[in-house]
């Protein structure tokens, strides 16, 4: 029971981060409830993908990365590595920036000044922490994001409109922006690094076939709660910013999100929510990138080992975190990086998902626990939609300025 609860908390705490919040706020401010369907679609896809990640690890005792290298060989694995690591790195820059921005609005000290302290804190948590501490600690802190749900309910949204937003609609105007934000939402929801992290976690926690039902429960309820929180962010933004015609461009503007519904604590709850959510995400992404290298090349790896026992694994996340701080030191806007990273995630999803679907249908790895036609169909369709939308809308958004 404890394991299930912790697993769900992990999923909730890990879902919200700067990407999902930024895209949801922009969607609500610009298009009211119209883009709720994108969050719904992304969440459904993620539920399937996370469940599959856990099932692969539990049955085959392989992480996704290990299985990808073994099944497809080094040359193909290298292409996936480059694509996934580059995009994950951008997301890491965004998350570290998110922590910096949260500290900026709380203290008045600009986010570039926070780049080094924040990176150091993320690094020290990984250096000294264990997998359980990171997984559970960050997620428990991330529960402060429940304040978004509280705010949404307190603002008394028109529930009919909210329900209507769950169905895809075509935009009236600002078409290029609408589809670009939709693509960014999908990229924010369907994050490959979550899959790699989850499958590695299942191996770290020594899952076996008996964990399959628990895995299904955790992925369904955990990701659903996370998606629900993202929708809450969109609903609040729709009620607070849209009527005033505010188009959210900067984090400082987004920081007002909870001040209407929760006057006394709203500002601080937003800052703390973003701080903890981005911290959790930064830890997960750093680990996911290090796992990618270590598992792919056959190094010793585990967050539970002392760094001296898995030197290359620890060097990898150390270098990654240091490099991710550099753009922030130079004042690169984390929000811009976020939007770009989310859209690029959508565009590169097939690189992660197509080999993964092959693995999930391979009897050598999954035996009788292979994917059914529903899993294959749902994932394939949603990823195809994300990719097509990304390929069309990214150039349109660039051209449209």
């Amino acid at each position: 029971m404890l394991q299930i609860t912790l697993g769900i908390i992990t999923s909730v705490g890990g879902f919200l981060e700067i990407g999902s919040v930024t895209t949801a706020v922009q969607a609500g401010a610009s298009f009211q409830y119209q883009l709720l369907w994108a969050i719904l679609l992304g969440t459904i896809c993620l539920i399937f993908l996370v469940e599959m990640s856990g099932r692969l690890a539990a049955v085959s005792k392989h992480t996704i990365v290990e299985a990808t290298r073994e099944r497809f060989g080094f040359p193909f694995f290298f292409i996936v590595l480059v694509g996934m690591v580059l995009v994950a790195f951008l997301v890491l820059v965004a998350e570290l920036g998110g922590i910096g921005l949260s500290l900026q609005i709380l203290t008045g000290i600009g986010f570039p000044w926070w780049a080094i302290p924040v990176s150091f804190i993320v690094w020290i948590l990984m250096w000294k922490g264990t997998f359980s501490l990171i997984e559970n600690g960050a997620s428990l802190l991330g529960l402060v994001t429940l304040s978004f749900a509280v705010a949404a309910v307190k603002l008394h949204p028109e529930w009919g409109g909210v329900a209507h937003g769950m169905l895809p609609t075509f935009p009236g105007d600002q078409k290029a922006k609408y589809w670009f934000v939709a693509v960014s939402i999908l990229g924010a929801s369907i994050s490959p690094y979550l899959m790699y992290f989850y499958s590695s976690g299942a191996i770290e926690d020594e899952w076996d076939e008996s964990y399959i039902p628990i895995n299904r429960f955790i992925s369904t309820f955990g990701m659903s709660l996370g998606g629900f929180l993202s929708m809450a962010v969109l609903v609040v933004a729709a009620l607070v910013f849209h009527p005033m015609g505010i188009d959210i461009q900067k984090f400082e503007q987004a920081s007002l999100l909870l001040t209407t519904a929760l006057p006394k604590w709203g500002f601080f709850l937003f800052a703390m929510s973003m701080l903890f959510a981005c911290l959790g995400a930064a830890l997960e992404i750093s680990l996911a990138i290090a796992y990618f290298f270590a598992q792919g090349f056959g190094w010793n790896w585990s967050e539970d080992l002392n760094p001296a026992r898995d030197a290359r694994f620890c060097s990898t996340y150390t270098i990654i975190i240091m490099l991710a701080a550099v753009p922030l030191l130079f004042g690169v806007d984390p929000i811009r990086v976020t939007i770009m990273a989310m859209a690029l995630t959508s565009a590169t999803l097939p690189l992660a998902i197509v080999p993964f679907l092959f693995l999930m249908n391979d009897p050598i790895y999954l035996r009788e626990h292979r994917n059914g036609w529903i899993s294959n169909t749902v994932v394939a369709i949603i990823v195809l939609i994300s990719f097509v939308l990304a390929v069309i809308s990214i150039p349109l958004e660039i051209i449209g300025g």
Binding site: T107, T259, F267
Partner: protein, 133 residues
């Protein structure tokens, strides 16, 4: 290499600047956000430093947006009136930021009301652009 350069130049040339409508939308959005910050500060729901810094950011952004818009103002608008109200709204935002430092809520509230009045004027000018199209 040549082909790549040609395509890049074409793409860059295709990157159009925002239209006057989009520029006015942006200005209105920033002014609305400044109003929201002002309301929040008066209700003591946001800290002084954050409120002041956000208003400073607003002023800088409005300056840039106004410069871009006034380079080629729309034909159907009184550009003198537009320039005047944009300058005035920036001054209101700047004064609001200073009044936060002085913790002078009554004068701040008056500046906020003036800012709202400027927003209404800008909206009227914006509507005249739309109807002129």
């Amino acid at each position: 290499m040549k082909r790549f350069l040609v395509i890049s130049i074409a793409l860059v040339a295709a990157c159009k600047s925002p239209t006057p409508t989009e520029q006015m939308d942006s200005i209105q959005s920033w002014l609305a956000a400044a109003g929201m910050v002002g309301d929040a500060w008066l209700r003591h729901t946001t800290p002084d430093k954050y409120s002041r810094q956000t208003l400073d950011l607003t002023r800088e952004t409005l300056l840039q947006l106004a410069r871009d818009l006034l380079k080629a103002p729309p034909h159907s608008v009184d550009s003198v009136a537009l320039r005047l109200v944009l300058t005035r709204s920036r001054e209101h935002v700047a004064r609001m930021a200073r009044l936060i430092e002085e913790k002078n809520a009554p004068d701040f509230a008056r500046q906020l009301d003036s800012l709202r009045a400027d927003r209404r004027v800008i909206k009227l000018l914006f509507d005249s652009i739309e109807s002129g199209q």
